[in-house]
């Protein structure tokens, strides 16, 4: 209740954000889209693997305000995508969602430059609070 005002201001700002969802599972993809819609983010693009994601990011490296990606995907995985994005010097916030909720995975993701590491399954509230947090901040990222 106390954080309601805070979150409102964040949401307001986040509403214009452009988000890329990278997820091969249609159920999860749909859930993420629905969650974002709940907080007013509608400018969303969704692709099914890392390679397709890179093809969206490459032409306009600053075109997205946030990337939400799964880890395990066919062809190019989420971690490979993250590493590649950071290699290219793109500092877009990156939320890694994964069913592989181990600490090793978390550390690996952190080292690759993840913004938020989020084990599956997550609640709507958890995802939305992290998204709001990231978009409300100065788009800071982990040091590589």
């Amino acid at each position: 209740m106390l954080g309601a005002d805070k979150s409102k201001s964040k949401t307001r700002k986040a509403k214009h954000a452009r988000v890329l969802i990278v997820e091969d599972d249609p159920g999860v993809r749909r859930t993420i889209e629905q969650c974002l819609k709940k907080i007013g983010i509608t400018d969303v693009e969704a692709v099914e693997d890392g390679l397709a994601a890179w093809k969206k990011i490459e032409p306009a490296p600053t075109g997205f305000d946030l990337v939400i990606s799964d880890w395990n995907m066919p062809f190019v995985t989420g971690i490979e995508l993250l590493e590649h994005i950071r290699d290219q010097g793109i500092k877009v916030p990156f939320i890694m969602i994964t069913a592989k909720g181990t600490f090793d995975a978390a550390i690996e993701a952190k080292n690759a430059g993840v913004t938020v590491f989020m084990p599956k399954p997550f609640t709507v509230q958890h995802l939305n609070s992290k998204v709001s947090e990231v978009l409300g901040s100065q788009l800071q990222t982990w040091d590589k």
Partner: protein, 756 residues
């Protein structure tokens, strides 16, 4: 067999013929000797008799010659006195006439006796009267220079005496001669040797004949009575010779200076030497050199000479000697002195034998026995009938702990508590009957001190020709093997289990991953739908229940994931402070912004803990999240502290519920809502949660508890409502100097077992 018999017969016949020849020779020799003695006796006797007879004749002839000469002297003196101045020739002739007449009437001197009267006339011996064989012959002359009529010449030369010589006929005679004093005449009385000899020769011939007969009789008697004796002696000597020459031993003899005087053939054959190489050599040479290794066998009287007179002195020695081609022989020589009737040692004699094969056999037997004794497996041999042990090797003795003598009174059944005689015979009988050659089985042996030893027995029935059949049993202690087998089974089982667990881990991990993916839309979309439904409506409530079920499913999947990760974990020694600081970074990133975090790890610098870092991170993360949850929306502060504590004292250790030792202690302290005592008592209970649905798993603290217990550590909570909570975690540290690693106890296996 036939051949042998024939051979024996031949030998007998041969030796019989030999003995006959020998006996004939003996008889001939003894006959000749006896006869020769007879002849000598006869000759000697006759010689004396003949000499006496000759002397008697000589005396008689001298008497005749002398008496006749004196008589003729007397007649001649008378005749010369009466005639006066008669011429000498006339007187002489008259004398002669008278004498001749007288002789004519006399009749002669035996068969060959002769009486002669002669005179020397003009250098010629002129025989005046010759009476022979009763005849009186006249006028015979022999020149004085002739060698004939030597007795008369002596008489005419005026000598008197006897002579053996040739008479005027050239016959060998014994004659007495005497000069007739006062005349130029001489007288000779003689007799032929032949006549003197004749009776003696006759007697000699008769004696010889008688002697021959007696000798022959003697030989016959000797043959009759002495032959059996001779034969016995012969046989005895033959027997001795046969023994001596055919014996496998040999006989020897020395003089008192130990010079060899005799050695039988066997010795010569054995060493390939000639008799002359040995005879006269010192006894030492016959004996070779004393075999040192068998010196204890030699019992030799030190001073044989001091044993003079004691024929019991005896010695035996063992020595080695090389034969002609250089082969070494072990020989024993035994002997004793032999003495004469005064007890003086004449020499030494005894026997010798070649015991090379014995020694060799003994040596190889010893070597074999030695080897068999030292074989590590246990070797038992036992009699098929009585079952009594006949041999056990050293390994067997050590195996069953009985002594050799004790075992010799025992049977295999005494060692086998699982067998009685009937059962054991059931194994043995098919082997004795030949149905089976070997038998291999496992059983248990009871040693003398009652220990049961698992054994594998390899039993064999050995019945070689000419030897008593035996059972040979090779027994192997299979304690180690059995233990290894058991261990292998355990290890295999464990491996099996762990592989199964790993597989299950992989499977469950993979499944959990998929479930987590599926739960995303289930939970997310349900929540979104719920939020659009009016609270209190049936639809809202239904989806709440569905969401609750999905949340429980998520917790279950967490457990599965935790289990799948706990399997196959790898423990390592880590710098604990570094690990915690890394964990704090992660924790900090996951904490809500209203919760601040500070740490103080300085007290725990350099602490080493054996653990799996992931598990420590899980502990830290759980406690951190728990603290953040307790702080809640209003915000607050978490402090993480690390410390090294010494709980070597038992009391201190008991206070914390750990074994004494060094521990790393880290505490997570929050200034949140705190807990009541009741809540504190339940916090480590799985599935207990104070949080609202969806915000807590309930698994957190119980997982922390399980993990810490696994390391042999402990978790403590200090809390009061409204005063915050402090969790203390104790983990045993690794002391590199002591190299003692606290063995982690895995107790949380209960959870995964309930899952499998």
């Amino acid at each position: 067999m036939t051949q042998t018999k024939r051979g024996t017969n031949t030998t007998n016949t041969h030796s019989g013929a030999e003995s006959t020849t020998h006996r004939a020779r003996l008889l001939t020799v003894s006959g000749v000797i006896m006869f020769a003695i007879t002849v000598i006796v006869i000759v000697v006797t006759l010689w004396f008799e003949y000499s006496a007879s000759l002397e008697q004749q000589r005396g008689m002839l001298v008497d005749i010659a002398k008496s006749n000469a004196r008589m003729i002297e007397a007649v001649a003196r008378f005749d010369s006195g009466q005639g006066g101045n008669n011429t000498d020739d006339r007187g002489h002739a008259e004398t002669l006439m008278q004498i001749r007449d007288a002789y004519g009437r006399l009749g002669g001197l035996g068969r060959t006796g002769e009486f002669a009267l002669a005179r020397l006339h003009d250098g010629v011996i002129e025989f005046l009267i010759e009476q022979r064989y009763g005849d009186v012959r006249e006028q015979n002359t022999v020149p004085m220079t002739s060698t004939l009529a030597e007795p008369m010449r002596q008489a005419l030369m005026g000598r008197s005496g006897t002579i053996m010589g040739l008479d005027y006929r050239g016959m060998e005679v014994l004659a007495a001669f005497e000069p007739v004093l006062g005349t130029d005449m001489g007288i000779v009385a003689k007799v032929d040797y032949a006549e003197i000899r004749a009776p003696h020769i006759r007697a000699g011939l008769i004696a010889l004949a008688v002697g021959f007969v007696i000798t022959m009789t003697g030989i016959a008697l000797l043959y009759q009575f002495a032959d059996p004796l001779v034969r016995q002696i012969n046989q005895a000597s033959e027997r001795f010779r046969d023994f001596a020459e055919t014996a496998s031993d040999w006989y020897w003899e020395t003089d008192q200076r130990y010079a060899v005087t005799y050695v039988s053939n066997r010795y010569l054959q054995l060493l390939g030497v000639r008799r002359e190489d040995v005879i006269g050599q010192p006894l030492n040479k016959l004996m070779g050199s004393m075999a040192n290794e068998y010196a204890d066998v030699s019992t030799r009287t030190d001073d044989l000479n001091s044993g003079t007179g004691d024929s019991k002195v005896y010695w035996k020695s063992l020595s080695t000697i090389q034969d002609r081609v250089g082969n070494e022989h072990y020989i024993t020589i035994s002997g004793k002195p032999y003495v004469d009737e005064h007890g003086t040692v004449l020499g030494f004699r005894g026997t010798g034998s070649d015991i090379t094969s014995q020694i060799t056999a003994e040596k190889s037997y010893k070597a074999f026995k030695n080897t068999l004794d030292r074989v590590l497996d246990c070797v038992f041999m036992f009699n098929p009938e009585t079952l009594k042990f006949t041999y056990v090797n050293q390994g067997a003795i050590e195996h069953v702990r009985y002594t050799y003598d004790e075992l010799m009174k025992m049977t295999p059944i005494d060692l086998k508590p699982e067998f009685n005689e009937e059962m054991f015979r059931m194994i043995l009988d098919p082997m004795i009957s030949g149905e089976k050659t070997v038998e291999k089985f496992e059983t248990v042996h009871r040693t003398k001190n009652g220990v049961l030893v698992p054994v594998e027995i390899f039993l064999q029935y050995i019945s070689s020709q000419g030897e008593k059949p035996q059972f040979v049993s090779i027994v192997r202690d299979i304690t180690d093997r059995q233990r290894a087998d058991e261990e292998r089974v355990v290890v295999e089982q464990a491996l099996n289990d762990s592989q199964k667990m790993e597989a299950l881990g992989h499977l469950s991990g993979g499944m959990a991953h998929e479930f987590n993916n599926m739960l995303v839309p289930i939970i997310g979309l349900t929540e979104l739908t719920i939020s659009s439904l009016p609270e209190g409506s049936d639809e809202h409530e239904n989806l709440e229940i569905a969401l609750d079920a999905a949340m429980r499913a998520r917790e279950l999947i967490d457990q599965i994931l935790m289990f799948s990760r706990s399997e196959g974990r790898t423990l390592e020694t880590v710098d604990f402070a570094k690990l915690i600081s890394q964990g704090i970074k992660l924790l900090r990133a996951s904490l809500p912004t209203q919760v601040s975090l500070s740490d103080d790890l300085s007290q725990g610098e350099g602490i080493q803990v054996i653990c799996e870092p992931t598990e420590i991170n899980q502990i830290l993360m759980n406690l951190g999240k728990n603290a953040a949850d307790a702080i809640g929306e209003k915000g607050g502060h978490i402090v993480i502290k690390l410390d090294a504590v010494d709980l070597h004292e038992k009391r201190a250790a008991r206070l914390y519920g750990v074994t004494p030792g060094a521990y790393a202690k880290f505490e997570v302290k929050d200034d949140g809502s705190g807990m009541s005592r009741e809540t504190q008592a339940k916090i480590f209970n799985p599935f207990y949660t104070t949080k609202e649905v969806g915000s807590g798993t309930g698994m957190g603290l119980s997982m922390v508890h399980g993990l810490v217990k696994n390391y042999g550590g402990a978790v403590h909570v200090r809390s009061a409502l409204g005063k915050g909570t402090t969790f203390e975690v104790l983990l045993p540290t690794y002391d590199a100097d002591k190299e003692v690693i606290a063995e982690p106890v895995r107790k949380n296996g209960g959870l995964l077992r309930s899952l499998t």
